[in-house]
């Protein structure tokens, strides 16, 4: 396990969830797996904390949920990105890139 992976910046988890769901509806475990895989296991999210985040995003109307059947024929709750969520994702992505860019400039100038 990578030691730097445990601390996710506040709000970053939301961004990662939105990004993951923009690829298609997914249940909570699927979201966790996907984030882990696509970050090449560098980011290991705290699995339990995923759920308060998912519910919060649904409260805000950025994602919506529906009970469905998983690949292995189990009852699972699937989350899907809403139009508002897509807009939020775009905003967040833009501001994240800007932030990362700014940090990189500062670091490179030193």
């Amino acid at each position: 396990m990578n030691p730097t992976a445990t601390d996710l910046l506040q709000g970053t988890l939301d961004l990662l969830i939105l990004k993951t769901l923009s690829l298609g509806p997914q249940h909570g475990w699927g979201v966790a797996q996907r984030i882990q895989q696509t970050s090449r296991d560098l980011l290991q999210i705290n699995q339990g904390s995923l759920y308060p985040a998912l519910h919060r995003l649904e409260e805000q109307g950025w994602i919506e949920s529906e009970w469905g059947v998983s690949d292995n024929n189990r009852r699972a709750k699937f989350y899907r990105l809403t139009a508002g969520g897509q807009a939020q994702l775009d905003r967040e992505t833009a501001s994240w890139s800007q932030y990362a860019e700014a940090v990189r400039w500062v670091l490179q100038s030193a």
Partner: protein
């Protein structure tokens, strides 16, 4: 997510709490099983895989709690617990709960009732398309801002020359006899210009309404009818459209049926038939003959002020063009809604203010009860604080208790409002400018809810804050538990009672002033003798009056006069006390002609012989009309005292001549006493009576009123008079049969309603504040039991003890009354518009109301004082 969605979501979660929990459980279990499965697939033992998954996930319960927080479930659970707790604790003290809920129910119920009326009359928009763009247009005379009807040529010129309105329509209200299978029925009717319905924008329910520019069948003898009439008389028959109905003996083709709830013009009277306005050639030419009402729809983007300025320039042009008729006449525009309800607004707002005061008093009362209760519950609070309950949590819990009380009050108050609206309906009929529609709708419900929440916080906050400030150690130690509560609280409770007394005084003074004004008005001499007078409107079929009204009325009057029990009978074009809008100008022979616009003007009415005797109007000089008057060339009239005094001061006007419409001169043959034409609160206006035999008089008698002076109770004559009228001509009928007393009573309907309502509210306020005073004094007595016991033991007499306690009450009462008098002096001025014949600072009212309140307050303090005097000193001292 919108707020509404969120709320529904929340409520769903609340309603289906179990489902929420199982879902949450399932969701997390699924995750754990998937994760464990993944590890197993990599070759782990099932047991170890599950354990690892659990470790990776973290504390399930903690995350569940977080989700609950996010979803607002935690908050709802707490509230639910608080509500349950509040209900339990309220059930434990049913007496307190009952009194508090009753207080609040009275306050909230009164508010809900008045708000329902305000909602129906002031807030609900008129039932037309974009009703706020509909504007009423009046002719305005002079600078006094007197508004009046519009003549046909003026209407046509306004319509052609204005640029601020999409269109202007005109109408004239009346009544028609609807004949047919169901018998003859008198219904409210309106003659309108064809563009009216286009301007209103309300589509017909069946068929169509009038369309401007369209040639209507049957030479314009077409009608649009109301849904109520359609249902009542024609069984909602869809095939009625295209068929004819008979109005006043003429056939009209029904073009369409308007939807339920539609009426025009808006007002207390219902209209069910609309026909086309067909002015005669004379009317089209008579610029000085004002009888049309006009309204229009503003063009988009044009403001009322702009339209007003523009139409005034049109009026100014007309004034120059036709100085004889138009001098001193301009235009006044008013939003249609304002024209309908404007006069009622002040009274309704005053009543709303009054019920808010009642509610404030009720809140003060309940706050007082809660404080008394908090004093008893100090130990409970202290224990809970000692056990670690947060103060915020305690405050919330007390507030929830207040809100539960308030909602209970709102529930009962809603019922009270509903019941009292039903009781008030007969009083409100005729007193409000909009008939019907007073009901509890969503807006009233929202108001009810808002009022109860606000009052719950209002009366609950201070007791809640105070309770949470409890000093734990002090209260729990034995000495503290019985010690009196702080001086702060005592002062606060006294202040509440003083406030209640002051507010009650303001309300009582207001009600007292209204009562004085009403009594003054009721005893105002009307100028006529109303007792034993029967009045009835005469419906005469169209055309029968043409040529001579005598032909119709004289045989009728002869028959009625010969009925046993009839002293005299006459006919008048319009009854006094009701309204005055038939006025015109004239010239006095032998005097220089005044400048245009400066001519004297008077009310015109047409009367038959014996009219004055029947109404009990004295003939002061000269004589009454007789049946021999009239005939070609004979032009006579009678004036009233007000006109005689204005135009012929110090002279006897009998024999002088007056020129009306610049035609032949009329000779004054008599002077009669003045009557109050426009209502008891309006001074008599100068008036001219024309004899009904005169050529042209029939134009005035389309809505003539038969007046019969009876030897005994006039109601007994109704049937006989009706029969005689029908025996003269089958087409003639009577409607709106009332005694003159009833006519006068009706004219006071809105004042009576205001008086009743304010009186009831003031009464409630008095009872509430007396109860509040009683409660506080009782409490103070209870606190001082020991001291009183010591005093009695040391030899104080009953009288001394009663004096001691009552002195305390008297001080509070005196301060309350003093503040109340100041408040009343400041606030009764808003009542001025509702008062008649009494100053808003009438000292007699102020003094007697203060005395009344003082007496009630003394009674409220005497009861606990007497109890105090009966304290057994041994018991009182030992108990401590």
């Amino acid at each position: 997510m919108s707020l509404l969605d969120k709320t529904t979501n929340r409520l769903q979660t609340l309603a289906d709490r179990e489902r929420f929990e199982t879902d949450l459980d399932d969701e997390m279990r699924f995750h754990l099983e998937m994760e464990a499965g993944k590890h197993e697939a990599r070759g782990m033992a099932p047991e170890a895989a599950r354990a690892l998954a659990r470790r990776e996930f973290g504390q399930v319960d903690r995350f569940k709690d977080e989700v609950r927080d996010v979803r607002g479930v935690t908050w709802m659970d707490d509230v639910r617990r608080d509500v349950r707790f509040a209900l339990r604790s309220l059930r434990r003290s049913p007496g307190f709960t009952l009194v508090a809920v009753l207080c609040l129910a009275l306050g909230i119920g009164a508010n809900a009732a008045i708000f329902s009326v305000i909602n129906a009359v002031l807030l609900r928009p008129l039932p037309y398309a974009a009703p706020d763009r509909l504007i009423r247009a009046y002719e305005m005379r002079g600078d006094e801002g007197k508004t009046g009807s519009v003549s046909v040529p003026n209407y046509l010129d306004w319509r052609a020359q204005n640029s601020g309105f999409q269109d202007l329509a005109a109408w004239m209200e009346g009544n028609r006899n609807l004949e047919g299978v169901g018998g003859t029925e008198r219904i409210g009717s309106v003659e309108v210009t064809p563009n009216l319905f286009t301007i209103l924008g309300t589509p017909a329910l069946r068929g169509r309404a009038f369309v401007p520019g369209q040639d209507e069948p049957g030479k314009g003898q077409v009608a649009v009818i109301g849904e109520g009439l359609w249902r009542r008389r024609f069984g909602a028959d869809p095939s009625l459209v295209g068929r004819s109905i008979h109005l006043d003996g003429l056939a009209y083709t029904v073009l369409g049926v308007m939807p339920a709830g539609f009426d025009f013009p808006p007002g207390p009277a219902a209209h069910e038939v609309w026909t086309l306005l067909q002015p005669s050639p004379q009317q089209k030419a008579a610029r000085g003959s004002h009888f049309l009402a006009v309204a229009g729809r503003l063009k988009p983007g044009v403001s009322l002020d702009q339209a007003s300025a523009q139409l005034r320039t049109v009026a100014a042009r007309l004034e120059k063009q036709y100085p004889n008729e138009q001098t001193g006449r301009s235009v006044l525009l008013k939003p249609l809604k304002e024209a309908v309800v404007g006069k009622t607004r002040p009274a309704l707002l005053i009543l709303l203010g009054a019920v808010l005061l009642v509610l404030l008093i009720a809140c003060a009362n309940v706050a007082n009860l809660l404080l008394a209760r908090a004093a008893v519950r100090r130990r409970e609070v202290a224990v809970r604080l000692a056990l670690g309950a947060g103060r915020a949590r305690l405050i919330r819990q007390f507030l929830v208790e207040s809100l539960v009380l308030a909602l209970g009050g709102a529930l009962l108050g809603g019922l009270i409002a509903w019941g009292s609206l039903a009781l008030l309906a007969p009083l409100a009929a005729g007193a409000l400018p909009i008939a019907g529609g007073i009901s509890v709708d969503g807006r009233v419900f929202a108001f009810l809810l808002a009022v109860s929440v606000v009052s719950g916080v209002l009366f609950g906050l201070v007791p809640a804050l105070q309770a949470s400030r409890e000093d734990v150690r002090d209260t729990l130690s034995d000495a503290g538990a019985k010690s009196t509560s702080g001086g702060n609280q005592k002062r606060f409770r006294s202040a509440l009672v003083v406030l209640e007394i002051a507010l009650s005084l303001v309300l009582l003074v207001g009600a007292g002033l209204l009562l004085r004004g009403f009594l003054a008005l009721s005893s105002t001499p009307s100028g006529l003798r109303p007792d034993r007078v029967l009045t009835a409107h005469l419906a005469v079929p169209d055309g029968q009056l043409k040529g001579s009204s005598v032909r119709v009325f004289q045989p009728l009057l002869d028959k009625v006069r010969h009925l046993p029990g009839v002293r005299s009978a006459g006919v008048i074009s319009m009854l006094p006390i009701q309204d005055a809008w038939t006025n015109g100008s004239y010239l006095i022979e032998g005097r220089p002609v005044p400048k245009p616009g400066q001519e004297p003007s008077a009310e015109y009415r047409v009367a038959s012989p014996q009219l004055f005797a029947s109404l009990g109007i004295p003939i002061l000089h000269g004589r009454d009309f007789t049946d021999r008057d009239g005939g070609p060339g004979s032009r006579l009239l009678i004036v009233n005292e007000a006109l005689a005094r204005r135009d012929f001061p110090g002279e006897n006007p009998v024999g002088r001549q007056i020129r009306i419409d610049k035609e032949a001169a009329h000779t004054i043959i008599g002077v009669v006493g003045s009557v109050r034409q426009a209502g008891l609160d309006q001074q008599p206006l100068p008036e001219i009576y024309l004899p009904y035999v005169q050529i042209g008089a029939e134009d005035w008698l389309g809505n003539a009123v038969l007046v019969v002076h009876a030897a005994q109770a006039p109601e007994g004559l109704t049937a006989a008079v009706r029969q005689e009228v029908a025996s003269v001509d089958r087409g003639l009928s009577l409607f709106d049969v009332e005694t003159m007393d009833e006519v006068i009573t009706k004219s006071l309907a809105s004042r009576r309603l205001n008086l009743w309502l304010l009186g009831i509210f003031a009464g409630i306020a008095l009872v509430l504040s007396a109860a509040g005073l009683y409660g506080v004094i009782s409490y103070l007595v209870a606190q001082r039991t020991r001291e009183i016991g010591v005093r009695i033991a040391l030899g104080a007499q009953t009288r001394d003890v009663i004096g001691l306690v009552m002195g305390q009450g008297a001080r509070l009462t005196a301060v309350g009354i003093a503040l109340g008098l100041l408040g009343a002096l400041a606030f009764t001025r808003v009542l001025e518009s509702l008062l008649y014949g009494v100053s808003a600072r009438d000292p007699l009212t102020f003094a007697s109301i203060a005395a009344l309140l003082a007496a009630v307050a003394l009674l409220a303090t005497w009861l606990p004082a007497r109890r105090a005097a009966k304290v057994d000193p041994m018991l009182a001292i030992r108990n401590e």
